[in-house]
Symmetry: C2
Subunit: 121 residues, 2 copies
DNA sequence: CTTACACTGAACCATATGGTTCAGTGTATG
DNA sequence: CATACACTGAACCATATGGTTCAGTGTAAG
């Protein structure tokens, strides 16, 4: 789990690219859970869930601890600070890029909102 | 490219999980580029780069337009608003979760700092 | 017209991913 | 002790990913 920033971004974005894993993170935000808890909640085998937990743990997003025969999963040490920073930087860059092109940004915002206002171009 | 939110999150986080693609987005933030431009800059074949562009386009992060024999690539309509929102919600949840467990958060922050120091480049 | 150039598509390859089953191992518990 | 239960690991499977080469197609330029 010792990795440079680009590898960390790779790992955490990849971890977040699966709906099940995002769901697991949300669940663990509510309560620590065992692997079978999660497997049940997301309707998949224990083994399958363990793999997801492995991915999340590798990315530092989940931490686990074996307690008796149960493996307890909780949110891990990483707070996705770098990932948030990357996204924010991107959004700033995006805005800057299109501020230079008034008509284009206007057009795109209209399209995105899909608010039925007629285009003027 | 019409997809529900969870599929969009899947697609965009997956698109961002590759360093080359993140690089392409940064590059396109600076200047629109042709596929061969990008292929050259990232030292890979035209075909390889076209696949990356395909992924980014599918995720709505890049838009392209054929101009003569060149395909012009620029930043796409999506501003990663939902992705940012997801991350922010996670971070808020993370904080809330560990505010309830003083000693634990302290421990984890120390661990994270220690790791950060070791990982410094 | 000819040539070069940018792209496109198909085919291929190695590896990764997301899931399964099955056969253990270790720990509670009656 | 016996049994059930939680996990673990290996093996397998289908599909996806990240890259390549090669053989086109279409357009620009000489």
């Amino acid at each position: 789990m010792v990795q440079c920033m680009t590898a960390r971004l790779d790992a955490s974005f990849a971890a977040l690219s699966d709906a099940t894993r995002r769901g697991v993170l949300e669940q663990l935000g509510r309560a620590d859970s065992s692997i079978s808890d999660l497997a049940g909640k997301f309707r998949m085998t224990l083994t399958g869930m363990k793999k997801h937990i492995g991915v999340l743990e590798e990315a530092g997003l989940v931490a686990t601890e074996k307690v008796g025969r149960v493996r307890l999963c909780r949110l891990g040490p990483r707070r996705l600070a770098e990932e948030t920073a990357w996204l924010e930087a991107y959004r700033r860059h995006w805005a800057a890029r299109f501020d230079a092109l008034d008509s284009v940004i206007e057009d795109l915002q209209q399209k995105e909102k899909a608010h039925g206002r007629k285009r003027q171009k």
